[in-house]
């Protein structure tokens, strides 16, 4: 271990390029002869495309081509896929409607592309797009699940009668019915989990370049997982065989899930680049991001919880309608099922759970995983339920939680998950101490004297991360394995390149991953380069999402570096004429233990590459690779407590304090971990107070710019007080659980529990806008 090793808050290696304006994002890529794409998008939520007349546009200056949905279908570019098969309770497979990259016949949400203009400049492409005449025949539309499931509702896809994709269940219904029949108290709750727009600050962008002589494509794209993009583009969308398609995701300006998916625009850019014989660039604007980046959440849930006379939970019954939007996005099917319902036990010992999830099409932007993906919805539901129960049962909300915490590990929940380790009392105690929970009543009285309504809200979350054991997810319907790969290359001079299938779009992998190498081999992180985001450099990888890159990606690197160490020790032992078992690595040197004999890493590396004097039979070189497939999910957990004040005159909420006590297992770089928590908390608070992607009854989006969709700004948020309680994850050798999503998962319930505490009324939907809070305060 050194000053740059595991546990050190090292400043980030990658920062210099970002703070000096030298980052290289996709829109910064310029290729000779490059053309620019502008998409023609449906202004209607549901319509037949009767005809597209591009004749006037084609006569305008600088127009290279106008291409449409019929052409892309005729060219056998595949329809978009959903990569996780879900089976309904009646045994039938999920019912998926066809989603071509541009609509040849029917548009089903505002913003769906029907054609694309390729021109010499961005402005000229947009100018020409206005001259393309699309003849639409409007159809009735439906925008929310409640309306979409009604008899007689407008129908989106012939494949999915009643707009229903699946009706899926988990858990033991009879056991739950038994529990409720024995209950001393039953608590009921209706909850809407509001639809969100992910809004990474960098809009999506793609630059596609077809090389005719080589029949080879290069795609620069804003992706969290370029290898998965290549696989899907190749195997399902028929763009090119994998060896003829290079996908590069350079610096990517945030993702939060929305850049996992392979979108129509990337497919069209590749296809169009071959059609026009020139590179094609598309960069979305913010409105296009609102219209086409996969949204998150959007659940409507009814839940009931049964308690015995001692306030112990007996059973939990949940029915959720999940709005999927107009098409099934890449991992959409898994989000409200295996990423949601499997977490419905929360931190509590719940003997019986039954959940039913009904997935529904509507004429809105497709919905998929957004930071937390299913787990925020589960955590919000459980923690609103616990708060509601505490109020109904007239017990302290923290005490009710403690009464029901799981304290023995491992713990098998009734909904698949087997929690490996945790200490929920420790994190709740830490949070309560940090916020002076005991002194709250006094502070509330003081605030009241000043005309303010003060409230406190607790949220104890658990999530399943380290996604994921391939065999397990395969048995649940996943179309891919969720391992990670790594390669560690020691160069002849002793510097090191680490190739990883993880992708950094803000997470700081270039620093964190180098810290592991520094820790193991005792060299400074400046001697280590992390290579990622290019399918020509890294052999394969699954990318970054689901808080997986440290728990899974870094473990793969550990496996590879262990192999490097093993070979290097053999070389060192041979050079030092010692036994391999006596070699130890200290401060970049291979030493014979108990002696002063040593050889530095660069000399070992040089020996490996000169190969003049290697042990008999050893291959030259010092490079090893590894694939790591986790044995279980990891279970980060923690407690968040929020104290706030509500202005009764305006309904506006102001934070007094926000404390977080998280258990992420081992921390590699605490500074970076805390940064991840801050960002997650901001998104969770944003969901609770500010953010809402809204459609009118006809499927017209109301919030398609920052003028209407409230992004959290600096003055909306407090500074956060963070702390960590630690139980090391037994499932991976580094003991890591993951930290990327926790804040977004746990924060929302703490905020709403606090506001409802402040105003003394329990029914309040997110986002708790000033108008909504004011109305709730003054409602009869």
């Amino acid at each position: 271990m050194g000053v740059e090793g595991i546990g050190a808050s090292v400043v980030r290696k990658e920062d210099k390029r970002f703070i000096t304006g030298k980052g290289r994002y996709v829109d910064d890529v310029k290729l000779p002869g490059m053309t620019y794409a502008h998409f023609i998008r449906s202004p209607h939520a549901h319509a037949k495309v009767k005809g597209i007349d591009a004749s006037a546009a084609l006569k305008l200056p600088g127009v290279v081509a106008v291409l449409n949905g019929k052409q892309i279908v005729d060219d056998k570019v595949g329809n978009l896929i959903c990569g996780w098969a879900i089976t309904s309770k009646d045994g039938s497979p999920m019912k998926m409607g066809a989603w071509p990259a541009m609509a040849p016949e029917t548009v089903r949400f505002v913003g769906q592309a029907v054609a694309v203009v390729i021109a010499e400049s961005k402005n000229l492409a947009r100018d020409a797009a206005e001259a393309v005449v699309v003849d639409y025949e409007e159809l009735p539309a439906v925008a929310n699940v409640t309306e979409a499931i009604k008899a007689g509702a407008p129908q989106l896809h012939p494949e999915a009668p009643g707009n229903q994709i699946y009706d899926w269940v988990i858990g033991d219904e009879n056991a739950v019915n038994d529990a409720f029949s024995k209950a001393a108290n039953v608590v009921k709750l209706d909850v809407t989990n509001n639809r969100l727009a992910p809004n990474p600050m960098e809009p999506r962008s793609a630059v596609a370049d077809y090389n005719e002589a080589e029949e080879h494509f290069t795609l620069y794209t804003t992706s969290q997982n370029p290898h998965v993009a290549r696989l899907v583009l190749s195997a399902f969308y028929n763009i090119a065989p994998e060896h003829k398609l290079r996908v590069i995701a350079p610096d990517v300006g945030g993702g939060f899930g929305s850049k996992i998916y392979i979108y129509p625009e990337e497919m069209v850019a590749l296809w169009a680049s071959k059609k026009v014989g020139r590179p094609v660039k598309w960069t979305g604007d913010r409105t296009e991001a609102f219209l086409t980046d996969a949204h998150g959440r959007d659940h409507v849930t009814h839940a009931e919880m049964a308690f015995d006379a001692n306030n112990k939970i007996l059973g939990f019954r949940v029915k959720t309608y999940a709005n999927f939007g107009a098409y099934m996005s890449l991992f959409s099917s898994a989000v409200p099922t295996y990423l949601y319902a499997t977490l419905l036990s929360g931190q509590y010992d719940v003997p019986a759970i039954h959940a039913e999830v009904i997935a529904v099409y509507t004429n809105t932007t497709p919905v998929d995983a957004y930071r937390g993906a299913g787990r925020p919805e589960a955590s919000y539901l459980i923690e609103r339920m616990m708060e509601t129960a505490a109020r109904q049962l007239k017990v302290d909300p923290a005490a009710l939680r403690k009464t029901n915490f799981i304290t023995q590990f491992p713990h098998q929940t009734p909904v698949i998950m087997a929690y490996d380790i945790g200490d929920f009392n420790a994190s709740l105690d830490a949070a309560m101490k940090a916020i002076d929970y005991a002194g709250f009543a006094g502070r509330k009285a003081q605030a009241k004297a000043q005309g303010k309504l003060r409230g406190i809200g607790v949220s104890c979350y658990i999530e399943a991360c380290g996604i994921a054991p391939s065999k397990a997810v395969g048995s649940l319907g996943a179309g891919v394995g969720l391992w990670e790969s790594a390669e560690v290359r020691v160069n002849p001079v002793g510097t090191i390149e680490v190739l990883t299938g993880s992708h950094s779009h803000g997470q700081g992998h270039e620093t964190v991953f180098a810290q592991l190498i520094s820790d193991r081999l005792g060299i400074p992180i400046s001697q280590v380069s992390i290579v990622h985001g290019d399918t020509d450099k890294v052999q394969f990888g699954m990318g970054t999402y689901g808080s997986r890159s440290a728990a899974v990606g870094l473990t793969a690197i550990l496996k590879a570096v262990e192999k490097v160490e093993s070979k290097a020790k053999k070389i060192a032992a041979h050079a030092l004429e010692a036994s391999e078992a006596d070699i130890v690595i200290e401060n970049g040197e291979f030493k014979v233990t108990g002696t002063d004999k040593a050889i530095a890493l660069p000399m070992v590396a040089l020996a490996a590459y000169t190969a003049h004097n290697l042990p008999d039979g050893m291959e030259p070189g010092l490079k090893e690779s590894a694939f790591y497939d986790p044995s279980n999910f990891t279970f980060p957990a923690g407690a968040y407590i929020c104290e706030l004040e509500v202005d009764p005159g305006t309904g506006k909420t102001s934070f007094v304090n926000f404390v977080a006590a998280d258990d992420f297992g081992r921390l590699i770089n605490p500074m970076i971990v805390e940064g991840q928590v801050h960002g997650g908390l901001a998104q969770g608070i944003g969901q609770a107070l500010l953010e809402h992607a809204v459609y009118d009854a006809n499927g017209q989006p109301i919030t398609a710019s920052f003028m209407d969709y409230t992004m959290p700004r600096a003055d909306d948020l407090p500074s956060f007080k963070l702390s960590h309680t630690t139980t090391l994850c037994p499932g991976n050798p580094l003991g890591i659980k993951g930290c990327g999503e926790a804040g977004a998962i746990g924060a929302s319930a703490a905020v709403i529990n606090a506001i409802t505490d402040a105003i003394g009324k329990n029914n309040l939907e997110m986002p708790a806008t000033p108008d909504r809070v004011w109305r709730t305060i003054h409602a009869a």
């Binding site: 920062d15 970002f18 703070i19 809009p203 801050h678 959290p712």
Partner: protein, 161 residues
């Protein structure tokens, strides 16, 4: 088309652009200064902030022609050679950035904030003054820390000059 003459990061430049060209596009597309970013269409996110004649403005909301004759500083021109501006250093040292996309505009705005307020900055003021810059990664916690840290460093640097 018009010819726009301006000083960018201390160098005189002359560029022929369509009159509808925004300053941000002149910088990115014609001068290859791609550190200045575009994050929205409604002049709210602040990823495009540069200094024009010493004032932090949104380069997406000014025509290139309006900047004719002006002196423009972009993120690329903030450091003195290899020596980072104290605000750049403070963002790095306080982990005030993650994906880096909002960072150039955030830093250019933050320099302006400190210049306007001198040593009179506190957390609430910084948060209010950052109203025109949106970050999705950091929750602003470390950005606020960085600006307060830099305010101290800039004061020291000024005193030394």
């Amino acid at each position: 088309m018009s010819t726009v003459k301006l000083t960018v990061n201390g160098k005189a430049v002359s560029v022929d652009v369509e009159d509808r060209t925004l300053l941000v596009h002149l910088l990115r597309d014609h001068l290859n200064l791609t550190g200045t970013h575009v994050g929205c269409d409604t002049s709210q996110c602040g990823a495009c902030v540069v200094h024009i004649d010493g004032r932090a403005v949104k380069s997406c909301t000014i025509l290139a022609g309006q900047a004719d004759g002006a002196s423009v500083t972009t993120i690329e021109g903030l450091a003195k050679g290899d020596e980072l501006h104290p605000m750049q250093a403070a963002f790095r040292d306080n982990h005030g950035l993650q994906c880096g996309y909002c960072t150039p505009g955030m830093i250019m705005s933050a320099v302006d904030i400190v210049q306007r307020h001198g040593g009179q900055l506190d957390e609430a003021t910084v948060r209010h003054e950052l109203e025109g810059n949106i970050c999705r990664c950091t929750g602003y916690h470390n950005i606020v820390k960085a600006v307060l840290d830099a305010a101290g460093r800039m004061k020291v640097a000024q005193a030394a000059e």
